[in-house]
């Protein structure tokens, strides 16, 4: 299997994704191929993180990439970076799939199972190597435990925040504010600006 991982971190020179996406919007398949090279690894990685199942993940990742092709003309540069736009689509679809697949009873079991396997440990384990991964890891470590757990359970597991509250045994309002506080701290640590 030949494979390439592309990460777009700060300071990393790469193709101008906005320019590429502009050409994709005009039906340029060659440009889409280049855009694909930049986003497919993150898309598949994020979807797989949420869904776990490799076959389903590829299926959803393909839907995501085709949605990028279909909706390229809807992208608005003033709203944010191309990678954020693409990964928002990816996350939405992954979360939809994981929730649709769970009947109410299954979901209870999933919550029970997840409470024995903190999402963060796995993140810490997998997020290694590259500079970008190191930085994300360092910034995650800088959060309080509740901030980190709240965010990773929601983002990487697809739990709603009431489910996160149930999992962590803390009040709903606390989860809401911890998720926001955690994101503020992460945003500042990663130097994210829009």
């Amino acid at each position: 299997m030949s494979a390439v991982v592309h990460l777009s971190g700060p300071g990393r020179p790469g193709p101008d994704l906005k320019e590429l996406l502009g050409r994709v919007a005009l039906g340029d398949q060659n440009a889409f191929g280049k855009l694909y090279d930049a986003v497919a690894g993150p898309v598949l990685g994020l979807v797989r993180r949420v869904l776990r199942d490799p076959a389903q993940s590829e299926e959803v990742a393909q839907e995501v990439l085709l949605e990028v092709w279909r909706k390229a003309a809807h992208y608005r540069p003033e709203r944010g970076e191309v990678m954020a736009w693409v990964l928002t689509i990816a996350h939405r679809r992954a979360v939809d799939r994981v929730r649709a697949a769970q009947a109410a009873a299954d979901r209870e079991q999933r919550i029970a199972a997840a409470s024995h396997a903190p999402a963060y440990d796995e993140v810490a384990e997998q997020v290694e190597g590259r500079l970008e991964r190191e930085q994300v890891r360092r910034c995650l470590t800088g959060l309080t435990e509740v901030q980190r757990e709240s965010l990773t359970l929601a983002y990487f597991r697809g739990f709603t925040y009431p489910e996160v509250a149930q999992l962590l045994g803390i009040p709903l309002g606390t989860v809401k504010t911890r998720m926001r506080d955690g994101l503020i701290r992460l945003r500042d640590c990663l130097g994210v600006g829009v």
């Binding site: 971190g9 608005r76 003033e78 709203r79 990678m83 928002t88 679809r93 998720m179």
Partner: protein, 248 residues
């Protein structure tokens, strides 16, 4: 929910961790809160960095599969005409909430389902909506109605939230719910228009979460109620409502 409480939902919203009903309520708030929209954009970018850091190697044959599917997927036209650069900030504020509203419904309606048309021009919205299935078509119309309004309430006997979206000009209403108490076998949730105390059947929802366009016109109804009924529904409510929402 107080304004301060709603504001703290920016994080959960960006992480797609809100139920559909609460998501709709939050987006109603977003329309009037440029600071929230800015924060949501920043959080979205922040979470994308977590996503990027999750990148994995992609099999080469996967690319071929995606590329060869391009010819089968029709590209959509731009949503809005280009405006002069000076109007960008205003456009962000105006278009963000409608753009985002689709995110709430993606879950409720199901994967690959609803491509809510966010454009404010009713003509374009309708033109594109004709391609959708009928129910989705009508929900999309409702959501893009300039006078679309929402109200939410807690559902009795659980942690569920229900939201009604309605448009006086279109004369229709949609119902979004999440986390209502699980239904016993052989029962369904039934929706009712409240005609000043008389309940008029407005549709069945056999699941504890979902979205439904209410059947029948608003016709001066003062609100919407939900009861648990035997599967197939009842001509009149047989029990107390689990939630009552008023078109106030």
């Amino acid at each position: 929910m107080s304004a301060a409480d709603v504001h703290t939902l920016t994080g959960a919203y960006a992480a797609h961790a809100l139920d559909p009903a609460e998501c709709a309520e939050f987006e109603h708030h977003l329309e009037h809160c440029p600071a929230c929209a800015q924060e949501v954009a920043e959080f979205t970018a922040t979470l994308a960095r977590l996503g990027s850091a999750s990148a994995v190697p992609v099999p080469a044959e996967f690319k071929q599969r995606v590329m060869s599917a391009l010819d089968t997927v029709r590209q959509e036209a731009p949503r809005t005409a280009q405006l002069p650069a000076g109007t960008r900030r205003g456009r962000l504020r105006r278009t963000w909430p409608r753009f985002a509203l689709a995110a709430c419904l993606a879950l409720a309606v199901g994967a690959g389902g609803l491509a809510v048309q966010q454009h404010r021009e009713a003509d374009r919205a309708r033109a594109r909506a004709t391609a959708m299935q009928r129910q989705q078509d009508r929900i999309a119309d409702l959501l893009t109605a300039p006078d679309a309004r929402t109200t939410s309430g807690a559902v009795a006997g659980g942690t569920g939230v229900a939201t009604v979206v309605w448009s006086p000009s279109e004369g229709v209403a949609g119902f979004l719910a999440s986390g209502m108490p699980p239904l016993a076998p052989g029962t369904t949730y039934q929706l009712w228009f409240d005609d000043r105390g008389t309940m008029r059947p407005a549709g069945l929802m056999p699941t504890a979460s979902g979205a439904l366009l209410l059947s029948g016109p608003l016709d001066g109804a003062s609100g919407v109620g939900v009861t648990v009924e035997p599967a197939g529904g009842s001509p009149h409510p047989t029990g107390a409502p689990v939630v009552l929402l008023s078109f106030a």
